[in-house]
Symmetry: C2
Subunit: 288 residues, 2 copies
């Protein structure tokens, strides 16, 4: 059985530290606050937002979830985001995707103030990330890197193969890993990649972020590989229940690799940590 890379274990003691930090801020008159925008009836968004809110609360951070109904226009949403942009009690803003059909996602994400864009979704943040400037790293991408470090797997010089080229995970993850100081050799694969199995098998570290349930089997891995599974797919277990599975076929792979993340409990706890750290960063940058 491979070593289990459990973000849930590594993050256990972090909230006590966060609480201390928040208390310090509160003593100096700053009450850290996050605002989450949901403009859809997507069940996953609602669950994720409430998990973020719960973890904010564990860290002593206020978190307000604003919901917008099906009649919402892009302009309505931009107006609300602009209010949050100029509201001093809001230090970080997250917009849950997807949005109601017809709302221009790019327009909405670009309207988040770069100073409060704690999930690093705006074009300016994405650009700063590429150029190696100070910025907010998208939380899930950052979580993958932090999980590697937490378990002593420094990616420097290693060949990391990323499956998936989404704007929120694959691309920012590649751009973080290749920076000076992180120093990974990075390959990005996707649906059009030829020889996918071969390229995946050449990886020291394989990171799956494609949203395809149990796609990665032992054909894609080798015994010395570190496997990070970013996937969170809800599927039916065939008996009327929904179960959560990753992009990796855990049972098929778990005895054939060196280390692997469980789903859930692998990457996602560190995603929340990244968001909270970015709130503190936003407050710091504001007060410089």
């Amino acid at each position: 059985m491979a070593e289990l890379l459990k973000g849930s274990v590594k993050t256990r003691n972090m909230y006590a530290e966060f609480l201390e930090r928040t208390d310090g801020l509160k003593r100096s008159g700053i009450i850290p606050g996050m605002r989450i925008f949901i403009a859809s009836d997507n069940a996953g968004s609602a669950i994720y937002a409430s998990m973020i809110a719960k973890n904010c609360s564990r860290a002593g951070i206020g978190c307000e979830i604003s919901r917008y109904g099906p009649g919402t226009t892009a302009n309505d949403l931009v107006e609300s985001i602009n209010k949050a942009n100029s509201d001093d009690s809001v230090h970080g803003i997250i917009v849950m995707l997807p949005l109601w059909k017809g709302i221009d996602e790019k327009k909405i994400l670009a309207s988040v103030s770069p100073e409060k864009d704690i999930d690093g979704v705006s074009p300016l943040n994405a650009g700063k990330l590429v150029l190696g400037d100070a910025c907010f790293h998208p939380s899930t991408a950052e979580a993958c890197v932090e999980l590697l470090y937490a378990y002593g797997y420094d990616p420097a010089g290693k060949h990391v193969v990323i499956l998936g080229r989404s704007n929120i995970v694959g691309k920012p993850l590649a751009n973080i890993l290749v920076q000076k100081g992180v120093d990974a050799t990075v390959t990005v694969c996707h649906s059009r990649t030829q020889n996918l199995k071969e390229i995946c098998r050449s990886a020291d570290i394989l990171i799956a972020a494609i949203g395809s349930p149990s796609f990665i089997t032992q054909d894609y891995t080798h015994p010395e590989q570190i496997v990070i599974d970013v996937g969170m797919n809800e599927i039916s277990d065939g008996q009327g229940n929904m179960v959560l599975v990753g992009d990796v076929d855990f049972e098929n792979v778990k005895d054939k690799v060196k280390a692997i993340t469980p789903v859930p409990g692998g990457v996602s706890p560190l995603t929340h940590i990244s968001l909270i750290k970015n709130i503190f960063k936003a407050i710091e940058l504001k007060n410089i």
Copy 2:
């Protein structure tokens, strides 16, 4: 002997088309104009700027080169760039690197208006490139991709290995190649990469952009490989003359790969084409 990928051949007829386009613009009262800023005594910058100016002239585009002496401060330069930003006769701005020691490069590049940033150096442009939004692609990176297409080597699905992670070539090139529609599988290697030769040999297309004279030998290649050499290194020929060589040891590799760029005459002619196309794009975007 490998097939020679000569940008110089593929670009020969393009200037006549550009002239026609410029004439059309002039008839509607628009005189396309570029401004190049040089704030250093770097010989390469001066040569490159005068080549750009010459090629602009071939395309009927005005090009003014502004030089700044050793006493120039970052604020002086930002002020001058801001004037060009708000000058309607300037459609595209290029800042030659390096700058005089002590001038903050990032500050200067970020001061170029995104609407005139025809070499795509600003953080906002870099971010839009990552996210797949309309933007200016950095000219050398774009030139590599255009050269592949010009010779019928569609990178879709192919494994492209890029050597070098600079902000002006390696990183933007990776971000262009991985986009939907281009669809390459992309690996970025650099000085910290382990197993570099092996990874390079696994490439369908190898692109060298590291600035190390004749670094790539046949140990890094295979007979079916397409090799693109971005390097432009001036070295002594041992007899008191300076000669221009690429990052690839051309003589060593030329009979051992499928296709290869000469240096000069490979990528660089298409770099100029990219800049000129971006001037037209800037004019178009301004007039939408």
